[in-house]
Point group: C2
Chain length 451, copies 2
C-alpha cells in the first residue's frame, strides 16, 4: 500500500492497531519504509510506538527525521523508555538527541544515564503520582484528574512530607472510596507496610521484593529517603526474564551476553564460549592421568574400557539433576545454605536408591547383551559386578558433589549457577574413574576378576 | 511473647506489619502458635494473610478454627486465592470448607476447579471492574467508588454490551480525566487494540501476551466472548517463574514437579530422576559397542584411551552451550524454526573457530605434559595429531547437533527443553568416538601412527 501511496488508508489501519503490533510491523519493514510508516502514525501514539521498536530501527528512524520531530518525540516519551533507547544507540546519535531536548528533560536523562547498569535507578521512571501528605482526598483526586494522562502507573500513589521524603503509600482504590475531606496522612499506609528500594539497589533485589509482596509498582528513594521515581511491574517482568536467561547461560558455561543471538557476530559468540571450554578441557588432564595409570590393566581386561563412557555419563547426569535443583532453589530462595545437611542426607538416600536401580538395570542389560553376538560384550559375570558396584558409587558421589558445590559457591559469594552440569561432570568424571578402577583393582587382587 | 500472653502487644505489632511478612512469620512458627497468631490478626487482613500462607500451614489453620470462622475467611478471600488454596489441600478439608461457604461462592469455586490445570480460567479472578458501555463516566466512577475495595485490580476497567460480551477496555487514567457526561463507548479502546484471552488458553500463552503488550491485567472471555474474569500481572509473574523452573528441570532431565524440594520425599525424588537416567544409561550401550569394536587397537595404542574422556566432555560441553542458547531463544520467541539455516551456518563457523583454538591449546597441553614425568603421557607427535583433529571434528558435530535437535523438537511439537545438555551429550559422545577412531584408523593404515 505504501508503494501505491494509499496514505489515508494506512493511517486508518494504524489508528486501529495496538502500539506493540505497529512497532513489530515497522521493525519488520524495509528501512526506507520504516520512516514512512512512522510518519503516518497519529501524533499521540508515535512516542509509545517508538519505545517498542528495536534499537536498530530506532536509530534508522532518528537519523531520518527532523530536529523538531526529534524534540517532540523525546519529550513525549516516558523517561525510562528514553533512557533505554539512548543506552543502546551510538554516541553521535545520543549527542544529537540530547541537543534537541529541553534543558529539564536533558538533566533528568543525564541523571539516569549516570546510575550504575542494572541498578534500580537505571530502570525506574519519574512519571509517578505523588502528593503532599497534608493534601485532602478531594485535592489529590483533582490533581490526579489533571495529570493522570502523563503517569506511567496510578494504581498506587505515594505521599511525601514537606522535604519530598516518602512517608506513605496509598492504593488508588483506597483514595477514591475515601471521604473527600479526609487528609491523606490519615488514610495512607506508612511504617512497616511501606516498601521501597534505594536507587542503587540491584535490579534483581527489586524484582525479588516486587514478587514477594505482589506489588504493581515499588517506590525508589535516594539516600535521604526522598522519592525519586517508581519501578513498575512490567519492567520487573523483563528483569526477571533477563536474570533467568543469565542463569541459563551461566549454567551452560557461556559468558552472559545481553545481545540478541541472531545479531551477535561469530567472533563474539566464539569469545563467549571458548573460555570455559578451554578451562574444562585442561581440567580433563586429570581424568587422562587416572586412565594412564590404569593403562596396563585396561590392556588386559579390555571389557572394562567399553563401560567408561556409560559410567561417566550416568555420573554426570545424576550430578547435573541435583545441582540444577539446588541452583534453582537458591535463586528462588526456597533453599538456603543452612538447609545443607538436610539436603545432603536426602540426596544420599536418593543416590543409594537411584544407584541400586541403575545397577540392577545395568546388570540385566549387560546380561541380555552378552547373549546377542553383535554387541560382542563380555560374558564374564565378575566384569558385570565391577561395573554395577562402580555405578552405585558414581551416583552417590555425583549426588553429593552436585548438592554440595552450588551451596559452597553461595557461601563463598560466587554465583551458584556456575556449579551446574558441565562443571559437575568434569569433577564427577575423575572421581567415577577412581572408584571404577579401585573396585576393579580389588577384584583383580582377590583373583575374582581374571582376563 | 505468646507464652507470656501479651496478646494486645502482639496485636499492635501485627497491625503495623505487612501481610506477606505476617504470613512468613506464621509459617515459621510452631504449629500450636500458628493458629494463636492467626486469631490475633485484625479482621480485615486475615483473609489476605491466609492467602500467603503455605498450604501445610493453611491446612493446620483450617483444621483448628470454627465453621463460622471458615465461612468468614473464605468469603473474604479473592476467588483465585481460594481456588489455589483448595487445589492443594486434602479432599476432606475441601469438603468441609465448601460446606461452610455460601451457595454463590461455592458455585464460583466449583466452576474454577473444573478449568483444566494451567489454563487461563484456573488462574483468573472474577473481582474485576466492568461497566455497561452505555454508562456515563460519572456513573462508572460512582460505581467504582462503591465497589473498588473488593476489586483485585482497577488500573484497567472493561466495558460490556447488554449480553455481557466484552467490547472495550478503559484505563482508569482515561476514565478519571474524561468529561463526566461522556458515554463509555465513546472513550473506550475497542477493536484491534482490545487484547483478551480465552478461559481455555494455556497460562504460558497468557504470560507471553501480557509480557509482549506490557499489560497490568488481561481480560478472560468464554467461547461466546463474554467477560468472565481477569488475570493480573502479579499472578503472571508467578507463572513466568514456574515456566522457567520447569524448563530448568526439563533441561536437567528431571520430571517436572511443582512441589517444594525440601518437602518432597525421597521416593518421589528418585522417581522424578530415575526415568531419564535409565534411558540415557541404556543409550550408552552404543558408545560401549563403538569402543568394543576398536578394543584390539586400543590395547596396542594405549595412549588413545586416556584422551577419550577429554574428547567426550569437550564435545558435550560445546553442544550444551549452543543447545541452551537455542532452547532459551525458542522459549522467549527471539529464535524461530525458520531461522534454522542462519543459525546452522553461524554455528558451523563458531565451531570451526572454537575447534581450532581448542586443538591448538590441546596440542600445546599434550606437548608440555609429555615433558613432565608424573603424567606419563605419550611423546608421540602423531598421537597428538589424531587427538587434535578429532577435537575439531567433535566440536563441529557437537555444535551442529546442539542447534539442530531443539529446533527439530519444536517442529515436531515436542518440548525443545528436553534437547539440552544430557541428551546432546549422549548423542555427541557416540559421534565423537566414531570420528576419533576413524581418524586413528586412517593414521594407522597410512603407517603414520605406530605403537
Amino acid at each position: 500500500m505504501l508503494s501505491e501511496n494509499k496514505f489515508s488508508t494506512i493511517k486508518d489501519i494504524l489508528r486501529e492497531m495496538n502500539t506493540v503490533d505497529i512497532a513489530q510491523t515497522i521493525s519488520e519493514a524495509d528501512p526506507e519504509n520504516q520512516v514512512k510508516i512512522f510518519r503516518l502514525l497519529p501524533k499521540d501514539s508515535s512516542a509509545e510506538v517508538f519505545s517498542y521498536l528495536d534499537s536498530d530501527t530506532q536509530e534508522t528512524v532518528i537519523n531520518s527525521i527532523t530536529n523538531v520531530e526529534v524534540h517532540n518525540l523525546v519529550e513525549d516519551m516516558f523517561i525510562d523508555d528514553a533512557v533505554d533507547f539512548l543506552e543502546e544507540v551510538p554516541a553521535n546519535v545520543v549527542t544529537r538527541v540530547l541537543a534537541q531536548t529541553s534543558r529539564e528533560t536533558r538533566d533528568t536523562i543525564n541523571k539516569f544515564l549516570r546510575y550504575p547498569e542494572d541498578s534500580a535507578g537505571s530502570i525506574m521512571t519519574v512519571e509517578m503520582a505523588a502528593f503532599q501528605e497534608t493534601s485532602t482526598v478531594d485535592e489529590a483526586i483533582d490533581e490526579l484528574r489533571r495529570t493522570a494522562q502523563d503517569k506511567e502507573s496510578i494504581e498506587t500513589c505515594y505521599c511525601l512530607d514537606k522535604s519530598r521524603k516518602l512517608v506513605g503509600s496509598l492504593p488508588l482504590r483506597k483514595l477514591i472510596v475515601a471521604r473527600p475531606d479526609k487528609v491523606l496522612s490519615d488514610i495512607m499506609y506508612d511504617d512497616d507496610q511501606l516498601i521501597c528500594v534505594n536507587t542503587l539497589d540491584d535490579q534483581e533485589t527489586v524484582a525479588e521484593i516486587v514478587r514477594k509482596y505482589d506489588l504493581l509498582s515499588v517506590p525508589v528513594v535516594d539516600n535521604e529517603h526522598r522519592l525519586v521515581g517508581i519501578i513498575t511491574i512490567d519492567d520487573i517482568v523483563d528483569v526477571i526474564q533477563e536474570e533467568n536467561t543469565e542463569d541459563f547461560e551461566k549454567m551452560a558455561l557461556l559468558l552472559p551476553s545481553e545481545d540478541d543471538y541472531l545479531k551477535t557476530g561469530v567472533f563474539r559468540l566464539t569469545k563467549n564460549r571458548i573460555v570455559w571450554l578451554l578451562i574444562l578441557m585442561v581440567s580433563a588432564t586429570f581424568t587422562g592421568r587416572i586412565i594412564t595409570s590404569f593403562e596396563d590393566k585396561l590392556a588386559v581386561y579390555t571389557a572394562l574400557t567399553a563401560c567408561i563412557p556409560m559410567l561417566m555419563d550416568t555420573g554426570g547426569n545424576a550430578g547435573n539433576q541435583v545441582s540444577t535443583l539446588v541452583i534453582r532453589g537458591l535463586a528462588l530462595g526456597s533453599i538456603k545454605p543452612k538447609d545443607y545437611f538436610k539436603i545432603l542426607w536426602k540426596e544420599i538416600r536418593v543416590a543409594v536408591m537411584c544407584g541400586l536401580i541403575l545397577a540392577a538395570a545395568n546388570f540385566a542389560r549387560m546380561f541380555l547383551l552378552s547373549k546377542i553376538p553383535f554387541f560382542q560384550t563380555e560374558t564374564n559375570i565378575s566384569v558385570f559386578l565391577v561395573v554395577c558396584l562402580a555405578m552405585v558409587g558414581a551416583v552417590i558421589v555425583a549426588k553429593t558433589i552436585g548438592c554440595s558445590l552450588p551451596i559452597l559457591a553461595k557461601l563463598l559469594h560466587l554465583d551458584p549457577a556456575l556449579m551446574a552440569g558441565p562443571m559437575i561432570t568434569t569433577i564427577v568424571d575423575a572421581l567415577t574413574l577412581l572408584i571404577y578402577f579401585g573396585i576393579a583393582t580389588v577384584f583383580i587382587t582377590k583373583g575374582i576378576l581374571v582376563p
